[in-house]
Assembly symmetry: C2
Homo-oligomer: 315 residues x 2
């Protein structure tokens, strides 16, 4: 089994590549849920949905999230009823949220609902929330603390991030199977998602870091920072204001001690010696993932790199 | 003020006619809520919505319910996610249910949410649920008891109705303003809705019948049975299996003692003497309501009839 730890769009592309590089049934995607929020009483799990829609082929290829060709009839009707439509929910997407909310209110866990949705959409890989418990990213800014989607969507990531905390994480428990999947995986791939608000909330669920340390497989991370910039989202700016370096080296410092190797982009190849000095093996690849075939190409290269790090692998 | 007591399609047409016959701000529509149900965790009030959509002009003129031109993208997506779409919810309609549910969960009463929805849609008349408390029509059939929408939608009204009870009605309280509107109205019009499952749940909320008895205005009912048949729905069959006569005379027997007069259709004019023998005044009109102008024509004739019954009116 291959395990990947993923946030939203970048994580979903990595998972999609891995599902195309191996038997997709051998892939387990452990997904951040600290972005989850309630929208008009509906429980929305943006990262789970992005992974779900990407692996099922429904995703909107232009945005990387949402469903291709989705309409916004219900959203427009809500506007007519006096609501400000700050968060875009398409009609097909809305069906996911209505069902998730109804099934959870009826007693199903988020993991159970996620598995059902994956089955219904024909996804062969296992998609799991890191936890069934409510955890919530809170971003501290010069204007005070903001709920994640307020910062991310409503205010378009324009605030400087002075701190991040994940409410509820101390008492969160890993969802059933998460620790076991990590500990027994042949390879663990930390996807090129935002290390602060996408990957850290997974790693910080009690038990997850320990499971990674105990894991018998090879652990690699893929840098989300290429040439000092995030491909998407505010990771670069956020790293900077939080005192990290917005570079593949900054990413290496964050993951040093946790993973065996780091995949960086070719444009950052000159950083390899400094990363190796941290005790990490490193490979520089063409890491910008294009269409499905290119994602699988990249995933194969990442897995080849991981296999080369395995104990007993030829040097 | 004019008050009308209404169920779904027939009641909404009557309310629409009245709103066209008088200043619509002088109309109060008191609506049945015993058909309300939960659909995937969303709180649906079919009769309130039919009245709301009809008075706002959004209604689908072909069905008499739902929103004209509504799409079913979310419903199809729910089918893809494994749900059987037995109850048709359009995308625009879905927005109403999402907002109603969210606002109620946030603490607003059904009456408050209904008033907000009416305001947002530019409805000048006051639309009110008879009660904010949960009441639910349960239909007894040869196959046992059925929740109302199971009987009405899922099983297409094919079961013989052996009995009807309204769960929760003994402890239901009239919504704020309902009793006062009834007691002070110039005219109360019981709309041509199903007397068993649309009008009775309104009348049977504790306090409503007493308020009608004490009301100072004229009270008239409009027969939903024309030539022995219901224009729409199972009222005729239901009256029969419950031991009533499916005729305007049967309707007169149900409302005798409660109203001063009954409006029947011209085709039932021969029943007028028998109805008058019950102590009711009667008028035979062209009672099938067509478009908006025809509804207003009919409503004016109903109001003229009511005025002719007022104490002190010329004989």
């Amino acid at each position: 089994m291959i395990v990947t730890i993923a946030g939203g769009v970048g994580g979903a592309k990595m998972a999609h590549g891995l599902a195309g590089a191996i038997d997709p049934a051998d892939l387990s995607v452990i997904v951040n849920t600290a972005d989850d929020f309630e929208w008009h009483g509906l429980q929305i799990s943006p990262d789970l949905d992005t992974v779900l829609y990407t692996l099922s082929g429904l995703v909107n290829p232009e945005t990387g999230w949402g469903i291709a060709g989705d309409s916004r009839v219900a959203l427009d009707a809500m506007t007519r009823l006096g609501e400000e439509p700050w968060f875009l929910i398409g009609d097909q997407d809305l069906a996911t949220h209505v069902l998730r909310t109804a099934r959870r209110r009826a007693g199903a866990s988020l993991a159970e609902v996620t598995a059902q949705l994956g089955n219904s959409l024909g996804v062969a890989s296992h998609i799991a929330p890191v936890t069934n418990d409510a955890i919530a990213t809170i971003v501290n800014t010069p204007d005070g603390e903001l709920a994640f989607q307020d910062y991310f969507v409503r205010r378009r990531q324009q605030d400087d991030v002075l701190g991040v905390r994940i409410a509820g994480i101390e008492s969160a428990q890993p969802a059933s199977g998460v620790l076991d999947a990590i500990e027994t995986a042949e390879t663990i791939v930390i996807a090129p998602s935002n290390p602060i608000v996408s990957i850290a909330p997974v790693l910080d669920v009690p038990g997850v870091r320990t499971a990674i340390h105990r894991a018998r497989g090879v652990k690699v991370a893929v840098s989300p920072i290429i040439g000092g910039k995030a491909l998407k989202g505010p990771a670069d700016k956020m790293l900077h204001t939080l005192g990290h370096e917005s570079s593949a080296l900054g990413i290496a410092r964050i993951y040093a001690g946790l993973v065996d190797g780091l995949v960086i982009d070719q444009v950052d190849a000159d950083l390899a010696p400094a990363i190796e000095a941290l005790g990490l093996r490193v490979i520089a690849l063409q890491s910008i993932m294009g269409d499905g075939a290119d994602r699988a190409r990249f995933a194969r290269e990442v897995l080849d790199f991981a296999r080369s790090l395995a104990v007993g692998a030829p040097a």
